[in-house]
Amino acid sequence: MTIAAEPPRRAFRPSQLINDSRYRGLTIQVVALLLLAGLIAYLGHNLVVNLRALGKDFDFGFLGNRAGYDIGQTLISYTNNDTHARAALVGMLNTLLVAALGCVTATVIGVLAGVLRLSKNWLIGRLMTVYVELFRNVPLLLWIVLVHAVLSNATPIPAEFRGEGATASMVFGVIAFTAQGTFIPWPVWGEGAELLTVVLLLSILAALVWRSYARRRQMATGRPLPVLWVALAILVLPTVLAFLLLGRPVTFDVPTMRETGIARFNGGVNILNSLVALWFALALYTGAFIAEIVRGGILAVSRGQSEAAFALGLRPGRTMRLVILPQALRVIVPPLISQYLNLTKNTSLAVAVGYADLRATLGGVTMNQTGRELESILLLGLFYLVVSLVISGAMNVYNRRIALKER
């Protein structure tokens, strides 16, 4: 093929912008771009005009001002003298906390319910079906409110823990479930605690090493070594020993009912009911969806797979771990992660129980007190967007890694 054989290039004509497949795409995109730019310019212009008319500006300086309000549940230290930025950070951490707790619990509930729904036990199967349908078909907001109300109604008030005629008692003597939250012991780091931490980390490492050693040994000799018990021992024994040798460097601050004044627990940490309610409502609601995903995933692995494994002499437990799960996970994980995404976004319903998430701090009190709607909502939206993009990015990477090889 020589260049000479090429038809002579004709001069460019404007009609080619529409008629020529090489240029038409370009034309359409340029037009679309112009329209979009026009729309954005129009909205931006309106924004500027409106802000000017209201005498407002666009400025994030308010984040540095004193917040002035208190937050019940904080992961980092916070007082009402801190700035709005710190309040927002507290809210952000609270959002992430409840999202993380919710995802873990929802997974546990969902996997259990999904597996149990497939169980041959009629009663269990029906019960799980009722659970799934009930939670999927009623709005989450309603569940959050209901769980919150049930929680505070079903638990005793702190006063009932007090004195001779106490009608309520602490679980194991250290945990108190009350209408005002759950009080749990909290570790206090004393002298030598760093060393203990090092020991703990080392024994975790050692347990992992043991696991991989056992694996390699088995591959090499065929004989399996006990993993679970040995690993547990490695994990627990040195830490306990170090704990005793170092003279109990970590003590637990156990909640105790105070003697005078209003009945309340001192010490320990209080997990507010709003957090628990939100956490469980989210977990139960999302768990119902996850149950369906898990069930679908297991059903998607054909019966032939487990039969083949049985025929090879594999026990049901091994079959599950080596054959069914790896395949089911490929089906389960992508929709599972999008459920995590939903759960994370749904944490914004915290407003129904007054949990101090990011929407309640930055998008609630701060926005209301400073009158910085645009800035607050922009930051709020960006936060959720970034979280979503991170999660879905991770999902895409995973999906690409697990794709089954086909012809």
Partner: protein, 438 residues
């Protein structure tokens, strides 16, 4: 050795054995119980656990609901009746609140003598979607489907009949001009002219025409303001409007996302990801709080309309993903056949691709609707009177001050009935699609 073996080998049966019933322990209720409830130690534990859980859940709930008091004028009256019937402090539901306020829970503050209007609108909607949801329905109903949105708007908001008629005529005018020009050839020009004609009609002619018609034949319903909408009517209006309006937008987004044009597909992806990455509640805040900043100074329209717009934009991103799935499910041969016949992009899309892709997408669309319908409870947070807020309002009155669970149970039951029915339908449809799939 082999001799003996050969003896045992050769064999022919001359009379067939009749089937025998299975041994006793393999049949009947005993077997059912053994297999389904007590087939192993784990199963026995599970059964007992389940029964215990069930008992825990129902022990308090059932008597409470069963003892319910239906006739009372206020919460305190309820308590008095309860004390009289069952004794002091015995838990008993006060269903009287539902009896007294069900109308508000279902219809909000819609005028009491006009309740037939939302009901008729809902009925009309159901008939209108019949041809879409059930392929067996007569095709002629499609005309009704086309007219339904206008009639429904008229029924719900009232006012002169001619307003919606004039709006509908805009579509007719646009379509007529588009069809006339498209016949002659140029599709792009036809689209432009059709659009132009419709816009011209809406902005210049519709109002005077409607006014003129109204003066000739004043057909009108009592106008009802958006503020009067509440309860499940509000949820349905927002949910259904959101889904129906987001459908065209979702289709365009899905097509854009699959487009080969780099910029167009990237814009669609960005839009979809941004919308889906941020919770609806934040978008509702945007609708309530910041949307006005982006509109010309002084524009101020109905919060309900703003919510519908926001919900439409929101659900269009989800619908787009559903439809993208439908598009992806179409075999590429369909596109090739359309190309080979000389159909243009829009012709192929409209005549070949969308009818098939939409049909595949219906279960997904119904599921989106269920999600959206449940999410309408979020508008209570921006002070619209959805069922949740109506319940709060009722509880804030002096009569029904102490009532809590009854209202929520009622609201939950109604939501459950709606959503469960729809999810069954979508499952049924999915099965049917699976079966009919080539």
């Amino acid at each position: 050795m082999s001799e003996i073996h050969a003896e045992t080998v050769a064999f022919a049966r001359d009379t067939m054995m009749p089937p025998a019933p299975p041994p006793r322990r393999e049949t009947g209720a005993v077997r059912w119980m053994r297999e389904n409830l007590f087939s192993g130690p784990l199963n026995i534990i599970l059964t007992i656990l389940a029964a215990w859980l069930l008992w825990l859940a129902l022990r308090d709930l059932l008597p409470w609901a069963w003892r319910g008091i239906w006739q009372a004028g206020s919460a305190s009256e309820c308590r008095a009746i309860r004390d009289q019937l069952y004794g002091e402090g015995v838990p008993a539901a006060c269903w009287a609140v539902v009896r007294a306020r069900w109308r508000q829970l279902l219809f909000g503050f819609y005028p009491a003598d006009g309740l037939w209007r939302p009901l008729l609108a809902l009925g009309l909607f159901l008939v209108a979607v019949l041809p879409v949801l059930f392929s067996g329905a007569p095709r002629r109903l499609l005309w009704l489907s086309a007219a339904a949105p206008f009639v429904i708007v008229w029924l719900l908001w009232g006012g002169s009949l001619w307003g919606p008629v004039a709006a509908a005529l805009g579509f007719v005018v646009g379509w007529a001009i588009w069809a006339a020009v498209a016949r002659r050839g140029n599709a792009g020009l036809a689209l432009l002219l059709g659009l132009g004609a419709a816009l011209a009609w809406w902005f210049l002619l519709a109002r005077p025409v409607a006014a003129g018609l109204a003066s000739v034949a004043p057909l009108a319903l009592v106008p009802v303001e958006s503020r009067a909408f509440g309860g499940f009517t509000l949820s349905l209006v927002i949910g259904l409007a959101g889904i129906c309006l987001s459908l065209p937008l979702g289709v365009l987004l899905a097509l854009a996302r699959r487009s080969e044009l780099f910029f167009i597909s990237k814009v669609a992806v960005a839009y979809i990801e941004v919308i889906r990455g941020v919770p609806l509640i934040v978008w509702l805040l945007v609708a309530q709080v910041v949307l006005n900043y982006f509109l010309p100074r002084g524009t101020n329209f109905d919060i309900l309309l703003r919510v519908i717009i926001m919900v439409t934009l929101f659900s269009s991103a989800y619908i787009a993903e559903v439809i993208r799935g439908g598009l992806a499910a179409l075999p590429s041969g369909q596109y090739e056949a359309a190309d080979a016949l000389g159909l243009g992009y829009w012709q192929a899309t409209r005549l070949i691709v969308l009818p098939q892709a939409l049909k595949i997408s219906i279960p997904g669309i119904v599921n989106s609707f269920i999600g959206l319908f449940k999410d309408t409870t979020l508008v209570s947070i921006i002070s619209l009177f959805d069922p949740m807020r109506i319940s709060s309002t009722i509880r804030a009155t002096t009569e029904w001050g102490g009532i809590y669970w009854e209202l929520y149970v009622f609201v939950a039951l109604v939501f459950f009935a709606f959503c469960f029915a729809m999810s069954r339908y979508s499952i049924w449809l999915e099965r049917r699609l699976e079966r009919s799939h080539r």
